[in-house]
């Protein structure tokens, strides 16, 4: 894999490496916890981290991102406290959704992350809405929505791209093309050569890039963001990658030809970038080991903190009513607590 560092300093490269490695190591821990029965389900993004991490690094922290279920790297790169993420995944009352929602179906206003619902199309139009809000307020910000290869078949994909184009909204639509929607391969999902070709039909620009190369992703999204703000237009970015595990851990991978795993293993985003940094002399083996060791300790300690929540052992202690908002007006700024 060819990495083009352009103007990036050694420090920026190491920052990207650290951001890329963290979700990988968290996921490896989650897979252990899953086997131990401590969490109930896991949708893995292993092998796809360069897209989440690269896109998030390319944006400002105040720019909205609408992630999906394999975008742990968005949450970690926005520096969300890991112990609270663990509480979320365990369904604890002190997680982001107070035990009301599973895995990545939540967001954080403070971090400008709007979580998904299970339907894989609706969030794209929500990104068009936040982009419209910035436009009306005269703020120069893009919004970014993720979508999978499967999600591009939903009507919501068409509606959102067309709306963003017609209303001249600076939205970056990122397709993570990982080859499969559950067990459905892309040749049963669509017929165009590149999904980015569809951009033309909406009157916008599109590009297909190597989604496993973090520097390519960062550089592309940075350039696309500048374009979107300069031209006040949306943009479609298709990132080619591969889902290295099952749809979720229980569903297996029997339907994936083993040769595909072998091929994509050589393109692993973490391994290839690490190899590049070692080769360039940006990091040496000792430094890599120290980063990994530091993360291991960090993850273990955050996991311990998560277990120490006040309500960790009594999830029935809070009521579940409260689907209606009381009081008038719309809050801005910090997250409001959920009603007790």
């Amino acid at each position: 894999m060819y990495f083009d560092r352009k103007e990036l300093t050694d420090e920026a490269l190491v920052q990207a490496y650290r951001a890329l490695l963290l979700p990988r190591m968290i996921e490896e821990k989650m897979l252990v916890l899953l086997r131990q029965g401590k969490i109930s389900k896991w949708f893995s993004g292993i092998g796809q981290e360069a897209i989440s991490v690269g896109a998030t690094l390319a944006l400002d922290p105040e720019e909205w991102i609408m992630p999906l279920h394999r975008n742990l790297g968005v949450f970690t790169t926005r520096d969300m406290p890991l112990y609270k993420l663990f509480r979320q995944w365990e369904g604890q009352p002190e997680g982001y959704s107070h035990g009301r929602e599973r895995s990545f179906h939540f967001g954080s206003r403070e971090h400008h992350i709007c979580g998904m619902i299970s339907h894989l199309g609706p969030q794209m139009a929500v990104a068009a809405g936040t982009a419209l809000a910035h436009l009306l307020k005269g703020e120069r910000r893009v919004s970014l929505a993720f979508c999978g290869d499967g999600g591009t078949s939903e009507g919501d994909f068409h509606e959102a791209l067309n709306l963003a184009a017609v209303w001249d909204l600076p939205v970056i639509f990122v397709i993570e093309n990982n080859g499969y929607g559950l067990s459905t391969p892309v040749n049963e999902q669509y017929r165009c050569e590149y999904l980015s070709d569809r951009a033309k039909g909406y009157g916008m620009e599109g590009v297909t890039i190597d989604g496993n190369n973090i520097l390519t992703v960062m550089d592309t999204i940075r350039g696309v963001k500048e374009y979107c703000l300069r031209e006040q237009k949306p943009y479609l970015v298709e990132c080619m990658t591969f889902r290295m595990r099952g749809h979720e851990e229980a569903s297996g991978t029997k339907y994936v030809p083993p040769a595909l795993f072998q091929e994509w293993e050589t393109k692993d985003p973490v391994d290839t970038f690490e190899h590049y940094l070692l080769g360039e002399g940006v990091l040496d083996r000792g430094a890599v080991d120290r980063i990994r060791e530091g993360y291991k300790e960090y993850i273990d300690s955050e996991l311990k903190s998560a277990a120490g929540g006040r309500y960790a052992r009594c999830p029935g202690s809070r009521r579940v009513e409260g689907c209606i908002r009381t009081g008038a007006g719309t809050p801005r700024g910090a997250d409001r607590p959920l009603p007790a």
């Binding site: 939540f106 619902i117 809405g129 936040t130 067309n162 709306l163 607590p337």
Partner: protein
């Protein structure tokens, strides 16, 4: 629009054209096309964009050209807007206006009464005014409310019903029914066009003393007003234009059976439209409508 500078209106043909029913006529000229926005034909995307606006502190109103077309935005309403506050505490500060109902020979896709699809969804509020003053008061209340509110407005009432409307802004509180007429023989609990059918019936049958309750708000329901009405008469007809099976009348009747059994002198009757699509030909539509059977139901109740 003046009271809420952050309020954005969106819908098909609502700007210069003023909307299919001219409800937003003149607003684009006054408030500009940034705030009064024509949309492509994409109900789902507009509702999603409304949620995005809400995340950034805006309010919005989306006009469905016809309530029937809400099906194309159903998922955004019931799963995204209705649940986001419960899921992670965010507002869905959105009003959806839905021109609804039949009686005008418009056929299966421009006539439906579909409010019960939404009264079963926790997280939504559903209102349905029957007269101009309530329309104003409930619309203002809907804009002041931070929850997603579905505002049903009956197309046949746009031109057939008129009434005094106070000039100054005022709220009709969501969740409060209106006692239209106090009576002692039977209660008719209804909303929308049903209110006017009942008023006509009362005029033609001055011998029957009807207690007429206009629910106005379908979610939440005003259970206190329902109980009060039952206690005055002991006989209840729940009437609506929507088709009978699984309609809102079923919920109201079940609640009365559960909570007011000791007040009843007769079974709670429901009268709804036939369980078919809304037919086009006017004679067929008249047969379809609950209105054609309400007299029979009232007679049945009076016999107890």
């Amino acid at each position: 629009m003046e009271a809420h500078p952050q309020l954005i209106l969106m819908g098909q043909d609502i700007a210069e054209y003023g909307g299919a029913f001219k409800i937003t006529e003149g607003l684009a000229a006054t408030f500009g096309k940034d705030r009064v926005r024509n949309t492509p034909l994409c109900e789902s995307a507009i509702l999603g964009a409304a949620l995005g606006l809400s995340l950034e502190g805006f309010k919005s109103m989306m006009e469905m050209q016809f309530a029937d077309f809400v099906t194309c935005g159903f998922n955004q309403i019931v799963n995204n807007l209705a649940k986001i506050h419960y899921r992670w505490g965010q507002p869905a500060d959105v009003v959806v206006r839905l021109p609804t109902g039949g009686g005008v020979g418009a056929g299966p896709f421009h006539s439906q009464s579909i409010e019960a699809w939404f009264t079963q969804v926790p997280g939504l509020k559903v209102v349905y005014p029957s007269n101009p003053a309530d329309a104003k008061g409930l619309l203002i209340a809907a804009f002041n409310d931070p929850n997603p509110v579905l505002f049903f407005e009956h197309k046949a009432l746009y031109r057939s019903v008129s009434g005094e409307v106070p000039e100054a802004p005022f709220e009709v509180p969501i969740g409060k029914a209106r006692l239209v007429a106090e009576g002692s023989d039977i209660s008719v609990i209804t909303y929308g066009a049903g209110v006017h059918w009942t008023l006509e019936y009362m005029e033609a049958h001055p011998d029957i003393d009807i207690d007429l309750l206009d629910l106005r708000s379908l979610l939440p329901l005003d259970y206190e007003a329902i109980r009060d009405s039952v206690s005055r008469t002991g006989k209840v007809l729940v009437l609506h234009e929507a088709t009978l099976t699984g309609g809102l009348g079923a919920e109201v009747a079940a609640w009365i059976g559960e909570h007011c059994f000791d007040l009843l002198d007769a079974p709670v009757l429901r009268c709804g439209s036939l369980d078919t699509p809304v037919p086009f030909r006017i004679e067929l539509e008249q047969q379809f409508m609950a209105r054609s059977r309400m007299g029979e139901a009232i007679g049945q109740l009076m016999a107890y």
